[in-house]
């Protein structure tokens, strides 16, 4: 601690460490939730099915951010950009190339993965606030990219594109909304299981080592650069698939649907759900879909303020979000049993 003191900084951890086991739910709980998700649509109206579909889709996007932040400790305020990329990829392929909607999703995922990987390369050098800054700029710039004149033939410019909603295949006797719900549920389930396994694997451990102490991780032989860019790519890829699904579900894409507001919502969803707790992503998604509806019904433009206030409440009272609430609930139930 001498003359050089002013130039040496011990960086505060970007994200609090979450143990691997605390990232998921137990088997029984998972199966019960899955059963509820499978059965509920049979008893509710189409509009509610649509909203449940959107919860799953946003849940995927929040999950992707959660892998990036909770897993590798990097954070992004630019998820809306990758979401938009996926949505436009799906929409353009469906409308201009007449591709089957299900086939557009892997393409959307791949395109977003590539974009995320490439953006992750320079972002590698950045950590903490700098990364937040670069991704913030990415999110604000994205709508302008989408409005570009020479892309207008494909993207429809400011007007955007209208997407046709798919019918249930093989003549199944269910409505479009319900089919889309089950279709989304299947994809969500696959990605969720994949993500859980990813975080439990060797790669997942490497990511968490980077999250907790980058320099120590690299001393242990973890290829920090590779894993960080990969985390960015995987996160962007999943977000892209969510974007593609979102485009199919709302049947419409337009540049102004993918502004910084969406990025903030996804970020908020992650914080509310609990950083690093994967099931929390869907709690967070439900939050960012239903809260604005309630707020907007009281007064137009109120949702931003409500979001902000709630975000502060979460930060101050339950910094671990829904995960903390779940743990507290569990303890209370445990006490009642005694």
């Amino acid at each position: 601690m001498s003359a050089a003191a002013e130039d040496v900084v011990t960086e505060a951890p970007a994200v609090e460490a979450v143990p691997k086991r605390a990232m998921t739910l137990g088997t029984t709980t998972s199966l019960v939730i899955l059963a509820v998700l499978l059965v509920t649509p049979l008893f509710v109206k189409n509009f509610i099915i649509f909203q449940m579909t959107m919860v799953l889709i946003y849940g995927l996007a929040v999950l992707a951010l959660n892998i990036l932040t909770g897993g590798s400790g990097q954070f992004s305020l630019g998820q809306s950009a990758f979401y938009a990329l996926g949505a436009y990829t799906s929409a353009v392929l469906m409308e201009h190339a007449n591709m089957n909607y299900a086939l557009t999703l892997p393409v959307a995922g791949l395109v977003s993965f590539a974009a995320g990987y490439l953006f992750g390369k320079p972002a590698l050098r950045l950590s903490g606030v700098y990364l937040a800054l670069a991704t913030f700029a990415l999110a604000t710039a994205m709508p302008q990219f989408l409005k570009l004149h020479f892309l207008e033939h494909w993207t429809g410019g400011v007007q955007g594109l209208v997407v046709t909603k798919p019918d249930a295949p093989f003549g199944l006797p269910i409505g479009q909304d319900m089919w889309l719900y089950y279709f989304t549920l299947a994809i969500t389930l696959a990605i969720y299981v994949g993500s859980v396994n990813l975080l439990r694997s060797r790669s997942g451990r490497a990511l968490m080592a980077i999250r907790d102490n980058e320099i120590a991780a690299s001393a242990m032989g973890v290829n920090v650069a590779q894993y960080k860019t990969l985390a960015f790519g995987v996160s962007a890829g999943i977000t892209g698939i969510a974007g593609g699904l979102g485009a199919i579900a709302v049947q419409f894409v337009a540049p102004d649907g993918y502004t910084i507001v969406l990025a903030i919502s996804l970020f908020l969803g992650m914080v509310v759900g609990g950083v690093g707790w994967l099931p929390g992503s869907f709690v967070g998604a439900a939050f960012i879909i239903f809260v604005p509806n309630i707020a907007e019904s009281i007064s137009k433009g109120l949702s931003g303020a409500v979001f902000g206030v709630l975000l502060f409440i979460v930060i101050f009272l339950v910094p671990h979000g829904a995960r903390q609430v779940a743990i507290i609930a569990q303890q209370m139930i445990g006490k009642l049993r005694k």
Partner: protein, 292 residues
Amino acid sequence: MELFTNQVLAGISTGAIYACLALALVMIYQAIDHLNFAQGEMAMFSTFISWQLMQWGVPYWWAFVLTIAFSFAAGIAIERALFKPLTKAPILTQVAGFIALYSIINSTAGLIWDFTIKQYPTPFGSSPFLGSQLISTHQAGMIGVTLLMLVGLYFFFQFTRIGLAMRAAAALPESARLVGINTSWMIALGWGMAASIGAVAGILIAPVVFLEPNMMLGTLVYGFAAAVLGGLTSPLGAVVGGFLVGVFENLAGTYIPGVGNELKLPIALALIVTVLVFKPAGLFGRAIVKRV
């Protein structure tokens, strides 16, 4: 050639605004090591306050002074109430706090004054400055007010006790505390000053971009670009970066084909990423060494 000079001068005048905003960002960054994502929204809100005062019949310069005083108090209040308790929280939590503030201010402004675009007056008029076609009186006024403010800040930090105390608190908080400086209040003071500087920037740019809740988003991104270019640890760098970015923005818009108004934000993005990748410390900043 005339087009070139014209664009450079126009760039300098918008650059003055970026310089103000970048300076406000750097002041908070130096104090707490965080970027205030809500800086632009705070400036926007201040601008709305001044507009409201003028609607109630307060003369321009009185509204100007009152708004700055209000912003100063509001900046301190925000720091005391919301960010002081978060000092030791992980980076993610702090970023979430700034994002929450951004969202609250943006939405509240929309609720109070709705989202329609409003005209904003300028005290300088918009006739050609000194009979030259190159620059309008408002642009000259923007540059003038900014320079005046910068000189004032320079004297404040160099020649007053409290300015010295603020510099000490930012540079070496522990040592500053040992010599009896209340570093916690110095941070609050920094927030207040940053909010006031932002208010000046907002009031000056409002006649150009018009008054509405989202008016500062583009400006904020350019302010970030300016702060990063100059180096986040250097107030002088922020100012120089602001002017450079302003000129660069205008020249790129004029001379690079395909880059018009519609690509302004992607240009700022490219600038930020380029600087962060090739010279993360910026032009004037000092490199940071990390400890395991």
